[in-house]
C-alpha cells in the first residue's frame, strides 16, 4: 500500500501557515499526513523498529522547530523528507545502522520445504519479509530512492528535489536498485 495514495488531497498552504503561527491542531494535521511516509523512510534507513520510532519523534520535533523558517521555496513534502533523511544520516554516524544479513533470514532448507502445508498468511508474511530484507541489503543511496518511489509514491522530480540530485541520477539509482533486487531475489524465485 502506497502511503500517499491513502491520504485525502487537501490544500496545505493554509494549514502550514497556521502551524507556523503556532496552531497545534494544524501541525497535528501535517503530522498525520506525513507520519507514515516519513516512518517508512526512517525505518528502512535505520532497520530497527524502536530506533525508527525514536528518530520519528526527533524528526517531527525538528519539523516543528523549523517550520517558521519554511519559505515555500520547495514543497513541504520535499522539505520534510529531506529532514528525515538527514536525521537518519546523523543517527547512523553516531551509532551505526542495524544490519541483519539477508542470509540470516533464510535458515535451513527444511523451513522452506515447498511440500509443507504453510498457512497462506504466514507464507505471504515470509515473502514480504524476504523482499524487505533484500531492500535492506541495498546500499543506502539506492535504498532511499526505492523507498521514496515505491512506498511513498514520490515522482522522479520530487525524489530529485529531496535528494538534491538530478532526475537522471534518480533514474540511474533506481535502475541499479531494481537490478540488484532482481539479482538478489531471483535464486529465491520458488519462495516468491
Amino acid at each position: 500500500m502506497k502511503v500517499r495514495e491513502s491520504q485525502p488531497e487537501f490544500e496545505e498552504r493554509s494549514t502550514i501557515v497556521a502551524a507556523q503561527q503556532g496552531d497545534r491542531e494544524a501541525f497535528r494535521a501535517l503530522y498525520e499526513r506525513y507520519r507514515d511516509g516519513v516512518y517508512n523512510i526512517i525505518f528502512y534507513s535505520m532497520g530497527d523498529e524502536l530506533r525508527a520510532e525514536d528518530v520519528l519523534q526527533i524528526v517531527f520535533v525538528k519539523i516543528y522547530r523549523g517550520l517558521p523558517s519554511f519559505r515555500f521555496e520547495a514543497s513541504l513534502s520535499t522539505w520534510i523528507y529531506r529532514i528525515a533523511l538527514n536525521e537518519c544520516l546523523n543517527q547512523q554516524r553516531r551509532s551505526g545502522a542495524l544490519h541483519i544479513p539477508f542470509e540470516a533470514l533464510l535458515g535451513s532448507d527444511e523451513e522452506f520445504d515447498s511440500g509443507a502445508a504453510a498457512d497462506r498468511r504466514h507464507a505471504e508474511g515470509e515473502r514480504r519479509e524476504i523482499v524487505h530484507r533484500a531492500v535492506m541489503e541495498l546500499p543506502p543511496k539506492l535504498r532511499a530512492v526505492v523507498v521514496l518511489k515505491y512506498l511513498d509514491g514520490l515522482s522522479y522530480e520530487e525524489i530529485a528535489a529531496v535528494l538534491e540530485c538530478s532526475i537522471g541520477t534518480v533514474g540511474s539509482r533506481l535502475n541499479r536498485a531494481l537490478s540488484q533486487l532482481e539479482a538478489r531475489l531471483s535464486p529465491l524465485r520458488r519462495l516468491l
Binding site: A52, V61, R128, H132, V146, S166, S179
Partner: protein, 236 residues
Amino acid sequence: MKCLRIDLRRTFSRYLNGELESSAVRRLEDHLIDCGSCRTRLARLRNGHRLAQEMPAFIPERDPWAAIEAAIDSQPDRAIDPRPASNWSRHFLKPGFALAVIGVTALIAAVLVASAGRAHREEPSGQLIADALDLKEFETVNIADIQENLKPHVMTEGYVSEVRLSDEDGDLTFKLVDELGRPGPFIICEIIDPIKLAAPSVGSRVRVYGVSRYDGQAGRNWYEVHPVLNIEVVRR
C-alpha cells in the same frame, strides 16, 4: 553485442513506472525491437520492479504524538529564523570555478529558452547546445598541455580510451588520450544532466568542448572537461 545506448538504458526505470514522456517511450520501444541486450536488461529490471512493488510498508507500533507534544512543550518558544531557509546557500563555489559555472549555466538557460520554440520537434539537447555555442570562443588545448591552460572554455581532441557510467549519480565519463594503448597524459570528460549527449565509442577520435577544471579529490588529481558541452566525432 554490447549496446552503448546508455542514454536509453537510463530511462528504463521511468519506463517501467510509466513516467516517461511518449516521445521517449517510442524511441525506447523502437530501440528494443532491434536490441536483444536491452530487452534482456529490461526484463530483469521488470522483475526487480515487480519485487519492489511488494515492499512492505510499516507504521509505527506506538504513535509518538504525545511524546512529540511533550518535547515541544518542554522547549522554549521557537523564534522565527531570520536566516534563509533554503539549503542552496550551503553549496558555494570557489570563485574561479564559479565564473565558469555561471557562464555554462547562462548558456544552458539560453538553450532551454531557444528550445521552447522547438518543443514539438524531437531534437537531442546536445544538438541544441552545439547550435548555441560559439565554438571559436573555446581555447584549443592539447591533452599534454592542459595543465598550462588558464581559460575556462576549452576544446581538446583525442582518442576515447574508456567510457564509464557512474554508479552513484548516473553521469557518463570518458577518458581522452593522445595515443590508445599507451600510458600518458589524459583528460577525464564528464557528461552530466541535463546535457544529453551520445556517448562516444571507445577507440573513436573526438573533439570535446566544455569547461576545464582540475579535480583534486583524493584518488583523482586529474584534469577534466566537466561539463562536456559538445562532442564532434573526427574518426569512428
